[in-house]
Symmetry: D2
Subunit: 333 residues, 4 copies
Amino acid sequence: MVVLLKKDPNKQQLEGLISWLQSKNIEVHPTVGQTRTILGLIGDTSVIDIDLIRALDIVEDVKRIQEPYKNANRKFHPDDTIIDVSGVKIGGGNFAVIAGPCSVESEEQICSVAESVKASGANLLRGGAFKPRTSPYSFQGMRADGIRLLLEAREKTGLPIVTEIMDAEQLPLFEDVDVIQVGARNMQNFELLKKLGKLDKPVLLKRGFSSTLEELLMSAEYIMAGGNSKVILCERGIRTFETATRNTLDLSAIPVLKELTHLPVVVDPSHATGIARLVAPMSLAATAAGADGLIIEVHNDPTRALCDGPQSLTPEAFDSLAKQIRHMQAALA
Amino acid sequence: MVVLLKKDPNKQQLEGLISWLQSKNIEVHPTVGQTRTILGLIGDTSVIDIDLIRALDIVEDVKRIQEPYKNANRKFHPDDTIIDVSGVKIGGGNFAVIAGPCSVESEEQICSVAESVKASGANLLRGGAFKPRTSPYSFQGMRADGIRLLLEAREKTGLPIVTEIMDAEQLPLFEDVDVIQVGARNMQNFELLKKLGKLDKPVLLKRGFSSTLEELLMSAEYIMAGGNSKVILCERGIRTFETATRNTLDLSAIPVLKELTHLPVVVDPSHATGIARLVAPMSLAATAAGADGLIIEVHNDPTRALCDGPQSLTPEAFDSLAKQIRHMQAALA
Amino acid sequence: MVVLLKKDPNKQQLEGLISWLQSKNIEVHPTVGQTRTILGLIGDTSVIDIDLIRALDIVEDVKRIQEPYKNANRKFHPDDTIIDVSGVKIGGGNFAVIAGPCSVESEEQICSVAESVKASGANLLRGGAFKPRTSPYSFQGMRADGIRLLLEAREKTGLPIVTEIMDAEQLPLFEDVDVIQVGARNMQNFELLKKLGKLDKPVLLKRGFSSTLEELLMSAEYIMAGGNSKVILCERGIRTFETATRNTLDLSAIPVLKELTHLPVVVDPSHATGIARLVAPMSLAATAAGADGLIIEVHNDPTRALCDGPQSLTPEAFDSLAKQIRHMQAALA
Amino acid sequence: MVVLLKKDPNKQQLEGLISWLQSKNIEVHPTVGQTRTILGLIGDTSVIDIDLIRALDIVEDVKRIQEPYKNANRKFHPDDTIIDVSGVKIGGGNFAVIAGPCSVESEEQICSVAESVKASGANLLRGGAFKPRTSPYSFQGMRADGIRLLLEAREKTGLPIVTEIMDAEQLPLFEDVDVIQVGARNMQNFELLKKLGKLDKPVLLKRGFSSTLEELLMSAEYIMAGGNSKVILCERGIRTFETATRNTLDLSAIPVLKELTHLPVVVDPSHATGIARLVAPMSLAATAAGADGLIIEVHNDPTRALCDGPQSLTPEAFDSLAKQIRHMQAALA
């Protein structure tokens, strides 16, 4: 961290600041120039509240130079984390395809999609039981019943299941779920993150649609600081001015995150684009960019899906995409 | 709602769509041109899931022309809503100033700030007990103790209190709170909104920093659909590419919202800009633009605030700002 | 400027960097910590190409701490610049209202609007002769004829004129124009800026709709570096995800710019919002926030304007707004 | 186009609007519901100024349903356009790699890079002679001398050259250049686009960093409307709130553009990300997403590049990337 002081700082305040920093085990290296003084802070600055320093009268600006996250930081954990989801590995060279419908609608629907995506090579089954919808008048998901149906589909196919939680109160229902998904809108629901940090269960953490990569990592840090290090990061598009797609899928996030953190990174092209026709090219692009997995919506009747229909592939389209991905991976290996 | 069909739509599917719409009491008016057919839908289209229609094979695009919110819509409720907060009115010409520290830190701190802002003319007291912080290592607020201290400050000064909830589980602690604040990060925490919809207590709903005004109104609609119509909207800045301020305060939101809805609209210039020096000009600007109130951070020791220090005014600066606001309001009246 | 070195930097490269910096009259203060070395650079770092340093193998990151602009910087020119436009002053407490139609359409139109806005108290006349339009099929302006008509309107009313240039080739036509406007799309047309830097004529420089305030000041610096210090900055809205207004008017830009620079700052609420109903509240807000002037579209027949009609006030609405602004200014004085 | 009328529209104005539309050969289909009337407009609405209609008193809103571009529209030109650049084909299945340094610096530099990228399989040579720089104090390019050196490098290697124009005045210098590049900042420099529309020479048009895809196509339309149909579109990243990369590369733009237009689409991962380490993964991703080519910065001495150093690959890194791209293309074919 670097602190730029104002011209002619009050001596007493400056000494106060320096001794406060030293009490936190931070080395302070002042650089006195002809017109300006800069303090270089060296040590574990993640414990320092940057705004507190910025508020001081004698300070003009503060710049953080080291990352404020530790558990998620690759610098302190150079090897890739491999997350084992009931036998399916993600990360460290293990590529996982998570597929399934946007919402669970019926036993027949979820089981038939599960069998179909399994036959095409999917490794996990996704399906929404609790659905975050912008409108209170839209379908809100089958909730507890939806989770029950997902567990049935797992029993039939052996595919571990991934489904979204919307409130910590729902946690008891998620006891048998293999991966708990935190949606983009809850990425900074810190109370929920803290509770997930106390579990011993993988969490798929989606990037908020207006969150920076550093904020995503800080949210992972909330979970990891509680003791749960099984976090899978998910890029799902960010909000921009462009209206041709629902959100703008930020594929640079993959190589950037893989430098900054050891956690696996998967990509959700279905929600990012909101358009089924774009799912295949964006899935291939994400794979080529180095993603550890994909989460793809597949529906056995896309034209009648209860929600998010426009972004779901048919099982046939998914099967053909899964093949292309395998060919491409073989070529890049 | 207007549905643009693809060229030569399948007749059977088209009839299916039309009869499904009619079953929802929507009048369907097809316009057949030489090259294209458009369906004009007239009726209560807020019950229609737009994505469902967009998913159909025969549909090229769908445009919503009427607002998807009803309870919050000025068209169905032309008069301004006036919210009575323990005797203090907001909306319909009643301007309210909500002031206080970012975080509650001690009894002495909160009571002294409360007395000072009351003397300067503030109508309500704000103060954070539960604090949403990006880092798990930052101060998270005094929590239950903070609420207790706020209630003491109310007892001493008579100012009703506004404080933020972060999780529905905390609701019992908010029983005596006058206004429950929903922070920007929780604007789309739909489970929380539903629970607040069952209370008979004013809710101050902050705009998510990447939420559109329509989404803000849809979140208000979640609360109102449950039966609680006491919603105060709050503009607090949106996330943009500009880095000179923490967020970009969107003051056009005031006149736009006041056209679309009858709910009161207040502005938080402190969090939007993140810089104390900008609070006074942005407060005056928000007032000039027609806001129904302001929510302003005031701290008795800005240089030592535990969080968000850089954006807090001193009591003296707040007093002088409160006077300027009154002068300006008199001139514009 | 602060340079964070990678761990164990190559000694020879480090010495090379330090002596290169010293050759540019930059003092280099290394801070050697247990794990990291930071170089504090003190001196005129505006001459340093930050990307050049960032590209070095031994460098992890570089942060600029001082502003890269000099002529526009208030630190080196503490007093407000007052620009004299043919007798009308802008800046340093002088508030100017620039009003007129979006496009010049006919002699009758421009003269009648000019007389009307003059009667309401406008100080300068605006009107587009060259019109930047997204579509090649839209009306592109009356061009040379439009400028001729503006000059006639000036002759009749005495109001100095402001009109937009779109290409340096058009400069000869602007010889008698009082203020040359550079539109948002040309804010980084550096070749044009360089040519305007050689004139002795005020330039109204609009912020690009995706430009930071620092970039706006760097574009002003292009003009000023050439010798022309008569630059008026104009905030006209930035591009965000919000679709309720055409752009998001960033009124915080006013107090931020006025801290960073001595140049006058005016606001264009008409183009920012794109909606006539929002022009009055946003004009009042901009004035309350400390703007040095406003640029407002007024049309004598808003429902038949050839372009940008939705954002133009009628002369009556403009007259009433001008009165409100004067009342508010009196109250805030 | 669909026009939503206000309640109880003035009859005379409505008739005026309808007959004006009919005079432009637009069929008008009114849909009269119980509470609202909608006008469906069918015909060539690209000639209609949408703002003109929106300005009318009787109109509540207007939505465009068909694209406002014609020459660039795939609907009217279903086959891919293949552009022949001095023998090198781009589009319609022809993939082109454009490589070279950010700036031309010397004869030795440009010729050695040209030879090296040719050996690695590049099809065209890029290099900046005129450089748009944010600061007037940064290196502005070798200008005319730079173009001369590019032509020498072409002579030596046979690679056609691509270089950026910044002002129409520079056109005579570009007579022998194979592809004229229009930079992101000039995407809406309409006067320049009009002049390029009169040439018979390929233009590589970069997307403005805050331009929608529709705006990019409208700028292509400016060039094509003048008679020059040789336009190559280039995605190079858009401005968002994310700061980990210089811009956010929008790879969804590739499949979206390829649906909307028949023009070839290339991607510039170097400028988008601003970080050399990200160029390889983003190049592979762009190729997987269906791009018709790549434009990649390669420098023979990345640590001493005069500008944009951080984003340039070494020749060795480029060679290895070029091989990977070919493998991947073979696998996807």
